[in-house]
Each structure stands twice: as structure tokens, then as C-alpha cells.
Symmetry: C3
Subunit: 401 residues, 3 copies
């Protein structure tokens, strides 16, 4: 980026006031957006999917944002690998479907053929000095974290060593390796991606906007009431590994380490799960022996969020399409042994977070409309928006790194 663009961003970051919503420019400027892609989306670990989606060698799915497309697949040796979905010849997209099974990767344009490890195996009629070995697909880094597949498009990704050490027992507890993806829905939102992420990070709007959620989750209550309920809940479950918190999120992440968070919060009254009336909707996860009336928040890297009830897990992912449009993908996971139609009904399983995300889509769109006005100005954040403030602190630093 040109020096004056870099200086412009530094100045904007320096001028942004703590405790206030972002200045309009951060939601509109194309240089800001380009910097977000390079400094955030291309540098951090992003949630791509789950191992259960590609059980057999040759199974693949694509992971896409902005102008980028990644092929995530299982190799002949059974490993999970990821490659940039761009042919090294003249650049055609190789895998055109969102998922499928292939013995090898053949570009549909000129039939250049790559093996599942991304190596170029054959290319017809090339000059004599052409080397197959120089023309493999661009490699994308992969980490498996509790069966969740994370990718990083940078050659030097942040370390996940701390994250693994702290969260491995959590992954075990909920049997995250042995979940299966029951449903995935995509919500296209005509707004800057940060408005969607910020919306996810505060429950200040839960009471006015999400009555379905608020009827089940203590988190939607005023801060003092929620803190009290949370303390009681933790004390009653002292020593239970489900209740061990890890707070390395956003600006609390160690230098060089990817951030993460784990936390357990009480549900309301007799609720057992995140559903209509708090009723259970699927068999217990992992080795859990019963319901404790709580739900865990899990954050892996700065952009991937999970909500773990005792009987199912929700994955939340926000990806930019352009500066003024984003996509919110919601994933519903259940115990891999659960049988649809018998052990769980898709409609019951997905109801709460579908209705909640539909409402958020409307909220976020109308937030963008107001932010677009010349009269919009940064507004004061409430005490229920501290987690969002932590995201903003991290975000501003990431822009100028």
C-alpha cells in the first residue's frame, strides 16, 4: 500500500475514541477494507468447516470470502489439506461446486491435473523447459482443533500452541471431534462485516430485539442480574472442568499466539438447551452425562464463534463479500451418533438461531443505513458492550500492524 494510504489509516486509528462506536470511515473506505483483508482475513485462522464434512479421501468443500476461494479436502493418505482454488495455468477456478468428491483436481478449462496434495501431475503440450513441480497449487495452512478445520492463508500464521494446551480438554469434554454437521445456513447481509461481528459480540440488543433468545439466556438480563446468576452458577459447579474459563480473546491474546476464549453461562429457569422453551433438542454431546442448565461460549481466533449447549453446538462465521456486504454462516452440530428424524428434528434444532439470525440481518442492515448518513457520529458504548470494545481495540491494532 502506498505510504500516504498507510498514514491515512494510522491517523484514523489514532483519532478513534475509546468507548465509542467506530467513525464512519472504517465502514466505508476502500483502503480500510483492503487493509482488513490483508491484515485480518489473510493473516488469521478462519473456521472453514468440520472433519465430518469430508470423511473419505477425495471429499472436498470450498471456503470463500471476498475474491478468494480455498479447496479444503481429505487426501489419499487421509490428511486434511487446503489449496487455493486457482489454476496455475491461466487462473481458472478449479472446483466449481461447494462440495463434492474427486480422485484428483482437474481444471475444467485446459485439464491441468493436480493430485489431492495439490501437486501438478499433468499438463498437455507445454514447452520443454516447463516444470510440473514449480506449478503446484498454492498451499493453505490447516489446523484441526477439536475436529474443527481452521485455515490460514498466510505463510506465517499465528501460533495455536497456547490455544491447544488450554482448550484440548474442552474439545474432549464436548466430543467435538465426534460431532457431525446437521445443518448449515447462509445469511447474506447488505452491511459491512464489522457491523455483523459487533452485533454478535454484545447482548445489549438481546432484550429489545431477540425475545426468543432472551426467554432462555441469562445473558440477555441487565449486567448486575446476569453477573449474580453467573456467580451462583459457577459456585454451584466448582471444580467441574466445564466451568474453567480462558480469556485470551482479542486484545488479551499473547503476542504471536492466536486468541481464544472459553466461558460458561447460565440459562434461565429450567432451560436445558438453546431452543423453544429451553427444551432439549438432541442427544447429549461427547461424554456428558446430563444437563446442567448452562451454555458455553467458545471463541477460536478473532473471527470464529461457537456456542455449546449440552446437546448441540452452534458455529458462527462472518465473512466479507465486499466493503458493504457480508455473509453470516451458521452451523448446527450434534453428536455424530444422533440420527435425524429419530434423535433430533432439524426444525427444532435450528429454530432459535435461525429466527435470531434473521432478526439480526434486519438489525444490521438498518444499522448500516444509519451509519451511511453524513450525520452519523461515533456514539457512546454501554456497559453491555465491553466485549465489543475489546474487539474494536484489537481491530484497530490489527489495521496498523
Amino acid at each position: 500500500m502506498a505510504l500516504n494510504q498507510s498514514n491515512k489509516i494510522k491517523q484514523l486509528v489514532a483519532e478513534q475514541k475509546q468507548g465509542f462506536s467506530l467513525a464512519q470511515t472504517f465502514y466505508k473506505d476502500i483502503d480500510i477494507y483492503a487493509t482488513e483483508i490483508s491484515n485480518i482475513f489473510l493473516k488469521h485462522w478462519l473456521f472453514a468447516g468440520h472433519v465430518s464434512q469430508i470423511p473419505i479421501a477425495g471429499d472436498y468443500f470450498t471456503f470463500e470470502f471476498d475474491t478468494e476461494s480455498v479447496i479444503v479436502l481429505r487426501t489419499t493418505a487421509g490428511e486434511i489439506k487446503a489449496h487455493i482454488n486457482v489454476c496455475r495455468h491461466r487462473g481458472s477456478k478449479i472446483c466449481l461446486e461447494q462440495s463434492g468428491t474427486q480422485k484428483s483436481l482437474t481444471c475444467p478449462y485446459h485439464a491441468w491435473n493436480y493430485n489431492l496434495d495439490g501437486e501438478l501431475i499433468s499438463a498437455r503440450n507445454m514447452p520443454n523447459d516447463f516444470e510440473l513441480s514449480d506449478n503446484g497449487l498454492h498451499k493453505v495452512n490447516v489446523e484441526l482443533l477439536g475436529g474443527l478445520i481452521f485455515v490460514c492463508l498466510s505463510e506465517n500464521p499465528p501460533s495455536v500452541a497456547s490455544l491447544r494446551q488450554d482448550l484440548n480438554s474442552t474439545f474432549e469434554l464436548f466430543g467435538m471431534h465426534s460431532m457431525k454437521l446437521a445443518e448449515k445456513k447462509s445469511y447474506r447481509i447488505p452491511a459491512n462485516w464489522k457491523l455483523a461481528v459487533e452485533n454478535y459480540q454484545e447482548c445489549y440488543h438481546c432484550a429489545p430485539s431477540h425475545q426468543e433468545f432472551a426467554q432462555v439466556h441469562a445473558m440477555a438480563k441487565p449486567p448486575k442480574m446476569f453477573q449474580k446468576a453467573k456467580e451462583n452458577f459457577s459456585q454451584a459447579n466448582q471444580g467441574n472442568p466445564k466451568f474453567t474459563e480462558f480469556n485470551r480473546y482479542f486484545d488479551l491474546a499473547e503476542e504471536g499466539q492466536e486468541g481464544y476464549q472459553y466461558d460458561r453461562n447460565p440459562l434461565l429457569r429450567n432451560a436445558l438447551s438453546g431452543s423453544l422453551g429451553g427444551k432439549t433438542v438432541a442427544p447429549l454431546l461427547g461424554t456428558l452425562q446430563g444437563y446442567d442448565g448452562g451454555a458455553s461460549e467458545l471463541m477460536i481466533g478473532p473471527l470464529s464463534y461457537f456456542l455449546i449447549y449440552d446437546d448441540h453446538m452452534i458455529g458462527y462465521r462472518f465473512l466479507p463479500i465486499s466493503a458493504d456486504e457480508c455473509i453470516c454462516d451458521v452451523f448446527w452440530f450434534v453428536n455424530e451418533s444422533a440420527v435425524q428424524g429419530k434423535d433430533y428434528q432439524l426444525e427444532q434444532l435450528t429454530w432459535l438461531w435461525d429466527v435470531t439470525t434473521q432478526a439480526d440481518k434486519t438489525i444490521i442492515r438498518n444499522n448500516q443505513k444509519g451509519v451511511d448518513s453524513r450525520f452519523y457520529q461515533s456514539g457512546r458504548l454501554s456497559e453491555m458492550e465491553r466485549f465489543q470494545q475489546s474487539f474494536l481495540n484489537w481491530y484497530l491494532q490489527a489495521l496498523v500492524k
Copy 2:
């Protein structure tokens, strides 16, 4: 705006030749467009609606252009006020519907609550040093002119003192305070807003393009024929206050005063109103005692136009959506005591100006297509485009003010 952008605009204005259509740049350049918004649409009085649309405390409608949205409402005290439709917290749009009735203004996102005067009344969970009184909605200036509601988004609007003095008797004559809005239609046009405004300001195209209009209005005739008819009409009605002209439009406006115009023109043959065959379509307006076969042109500020027949009034408003798209809103007003279905039929009332505006939409779109060509060049204006020339003179000065 950066100095070099400001200089670029000054140079373009200096280069524009009198008596010729605008150079292409004025219809395409995004810096020109930004300057138009700030120097014209944010500085002048704009027609928002009529008091009859919000008769009861809490009634509101929104007024929107480009990225801006204004709430126009009647307060508890019965006053008409206007506020920027952007929450002072994180910027959400507050009123999402085009009109409605509210006891107070509650942001749908986090439930910040404003009274109808725009003062912030409650906001949950805010830090101790947060002051409600610092966080009211941005105020928009309002003027009531003959029951017509005008808004100005500038803190220092032009004066309407001269306008009031000259036009008050006209407002009275046609009973403009006691009209009601019978119908409103919006026409979205894929063209720069100026092409739509210029189209409204000349009747050179009326004969070839609007046979329905031309059959009823003398104005569509060649200039000499029209002037003759107008002189005869004026002389026959000497002393009648309906025939007192005021020409303070565009470049004829006094410094610091908003411009305006009032003029009365003859209809053709036995036509009594602007309708199919010139037939009457509604009860007489105000205190009028009969039809005189004329129609008045009323212009309030540089961007709001009214056409007053003896039995109904048309309002015309052009608003930019972006540099290459605009909206034309047409309003049909009748005497407030008239009953739809009994005293007037909506289809008869709206026919002429609906068919005319539909035709204009096509004309203007095709004008834009030609103006987009690299081969477009400013063309000579005819003698029937002098009012348009006056608009262009004013427009060019407004750009560099």
C-alpha cells in the same frame, strides 16, 4: 474537500458556456456530485410533505435522499418538527417505515428512547458520566409554507422572509393550508438528477413528447403563440390577485433569501383543469368561486415545484439517489373537504401527470444514455429553454459558493 478538487470544480464552472447544455462531467463526476449534495441539497429548503399527512401528535413520515433520512413528525404540543433518522448510540435507523404513528421514538436496535421533540429520554446500562441531554437527535430546521412542510438540513438555512411576504396571499387564495394529499407516486429514474430537473423546466419537449399535456396547456405552443395567449389572458383578468407574478427564481433570488416564483398561464380552448379533455376532476380549491381556464406555476426554493389548477394541485420533487440515479415524487392535492369516490376519482385526478411523468422517465433515461457517450458535447439551447438556462446559472454558482 481537498483544494485541488475545489479548483477542478471552479475551472469546470468557468469553462461552461452560456446558452449550451452542461458539459458531460457535471453529470458524471463524483466530486461534482458530492459538492451538489453539500452545497445544494444540504443547504436549501426541500419540500418534505404537507401538514395533512400528520394531523395527530405522534404521526410521522420519513423524507429521504442519497444516504440521508429525516423523520418529520407532529409533537405532543402539536408542532411540526424534524429530526435526523440516525440513533446517537451506534447509528441505527430509528423509523424504518415510510410513515406511522409513535408515542415516542424508540431505536429498534438497543431501545434508546427519544421523545417526539428528539430528546433522549432513556438509555439502559450507560456509564455514569453519560449525559442524556448531550445525545438528542440531530435537529432539522422546518418551515411551514401554506401547509407545505419544508426542511433544511443546514444549521444556517436561507431566509424565507421575502417568500412569505410575497406568497402568503397566494397560499390563502388556493387554501393550501386546508388541502389534503390525495395520492403520491414515486418514479425511479436511472439518470443524474439534473437531467430530470432540466426536463421539468422546459416545455420545448412538450409538443413532441407529451401530446396529453399539449392538448390542454398553451405553454406547449411555440413561444410567440404562447406569449400572445398569456398576454390576452392576463389582460382579461387584470387586478385579479391570482395573476400577480413573482419572479425571484434561481439566479433572480435575493442574496440570503430562498428563491421563489409564482405565475399564471392559460389553458387551451375550453379546458378548466389539467386532465383528460381539460375537464374538472375535483371540487374547487380554497375560496375560489369558479374556473378561469388557467393554471399557476409555483416554485418554492430551487428544487420544489407546484402546479395549481383551480380544482387540484400537483407537487413535483426530484431527489438524488446517487450520481446516476434519481427519484421523482409526484403529489396530488385536493380540497381537504373533498371525498374520494364521491367528489373525485383517483384515476381521473392522477391520469395526466402520471402518463406525463412515465413518458418523462423514458425521455430522461435516454438522455442520460446519450450524455454518457464520449461523443456527447454541450449543445445549443433553444428559446424555449430559458428557464432551464436560469436554473443552470444558479446551479453553477451554487457549486462554487
Copy 3:
């Protein structure tokens, strides 16, 4: 164009490696695109249509790309002329339909009237010093080449003298003056125009992507096999004027002369035409006496391509709509004496190149998607992409001329 933009383009051209696909910038940058329009599309001869489309005085069709529109018509004197489709008054488009018949050209806005030669004949109510003779339509240069109508929007077009001298006998041979347009289809492609043109210029993708084409054309075979077949075919037809090659295409064109190419290639097995199973689909063209199992490639100027079977001719034209969208127009010509439904069936005639172009549309769109990635990099071209390389050499030079 500003000096620094011109320098930027020079540097990009200098950095582009021979034998590799273009760098991403050439497909995305708006300054590059603007230069392409001015240096390529506004300077060269473009295929607009065929004389058979406008047999009678007053017949016209429009030819459009980017923001430009040209009226191509037959004058009262029977000549083919072309005018810019922009009124000299305020710039409206004049001919709104794609084709039609008019005694004169009347602007639909204010009725300025031009004769078929483009001279302004009447304009109402103009000032006294207005000169009709100064306000004719902008003239577009026209050349008739074998009944094909070419237009050039530059005042100083390249010469077609060499082209005429070499190709006149070919035009005669296939009776190109006495063809008729049997069908035209337009394929809108969400990709930069060069990706579409490059796709047309190489048959490296024919075998994997176009089985319908590959079953009939030797050109889809590997280079050595094709060269062998072509040599045999040429030797067997020595002295036949159909087999005289002219290679003045792209970078092989003489200075100041428009480029061109003519070449004849063998079909496969017993194929006689470009169709399902290689069957004949229409009566023989021109003065041909029989089928020889070949097809000719004809290129007139750098942007217009023709494929001549013994019984029909295909025209191919790629035109930019914007930097990231283009249109591919395909024309099917037959002997003018052929009667539809009797001598040829439209579905059989158009099948091969419709199915092939539909497939290309998909290929090209997916090529653009990959080229949009930050990970796209120029890739090595194969031996079957030499003609494309010749286009790229010419293209890069045209950018900096």
C-alpha cells in the same frame, strides 16, 4: 490521460513476461480499461453487421459497446453510412430500437430532425445565429468488406488497402456479398473482454471443454497430429484458391494497415460442415461446387473473427460493457438464396456454436473468478496458445501507442 497514469501503464506493459498469461492488473484496472477503449475499440475497424440486414433506404441497426452507440443505416442514395447515436442538442439517444426503418432521424426528445446522411434538417425555436450545418451528427467511418459492414470511430482509421487486395478473392469465393444473416445471438459474460477474446484464440481448451466441436474439427487435436492433418489437406488441394493463406494478424500487421488473416483447416473423418456429426446444414455458399471437408478461419482487424464452412459462415464479436463484463455476439450467415425451413433449419444451423458458446460463457466466467484472487499469478502458456500470445503482443503494444 494524466502522465502518471500513462507511465503506470508503460511500466506494467514492460513488466509483462512473454509466454505467460497477463498480470491481474490488465483485467481489473480502470485506467487500463479506459486506455483499451481509446486505443483499441475507438481506433480499429469493428464488425458492425452485414449489408443484408439493411437492404432498403432508411433501414438501420444500432451497434453498441461500453457507453457508445452507433446508427448504421442505408441512405436515400443507397449508401451504407454510420452516425453517432447522440443528438447534438442535449445529447439524447436518437434511435432507441436495435433496428428499424426511418425516413429520417428524429430525436424523440425535442424533435430535432436529421436526414439519413446525418445532416440537421430542422430544429424549432433556435436563436437566430444557430446554424443547422454546424450541428450534424458525428460521422463514423464505414468500410464494406465482402458485404460485411465495418465501422471505425476514429477520424484516422488504419488503412484496409492490403486487406482488400489480399482478401477480395476470398470474399468472392464464398459469395460473402450475397450472404444473408440467418440468426444472431448475444451472450452476456461477467468477465473482462480479453478473457473472452483469449478463449476464442486457442484450441488448447477444445478437447477438455468442447466435445461437440472436438468431434468435428482437427484443430482440437494435439499440435503434431493437427499439423500433419493440415499439411496433408493442403497438399491434396494445392493450387485451390481456398487454400491460400494470409498471415497479417495482430503483431504481424504492417504499420498503418489493419491486420487480417485467412487460413483453411481440415475437419475430421467425413465431416463436411461445423454441425452435429459434421453433416451439411445449408446450401453451398457463393460459387462453391462441392464440399472439401475443410473450414476457413478469417480475421478482419484484431477484434472480428469469422469461421467459414462450405455451407455457412459464423461471425464472432466480443465487445466490452465495462471492465468486468462483456458481450459475445454470434452471427450465422447462409447463402442469400437459401430459404429457412426448406433449405436449412435454424436449430441445426445454430446448434454447434450455440452449445460451444454457452460452454465458453461458463469457462470464461470461472476464469475471471480465479483471476480475481490475490493468489492468481501469470501462468505459463502452452504450445497450443501461440495465437493467443500473438494477440497479447499486439494488445500490449496497442496500450502504449
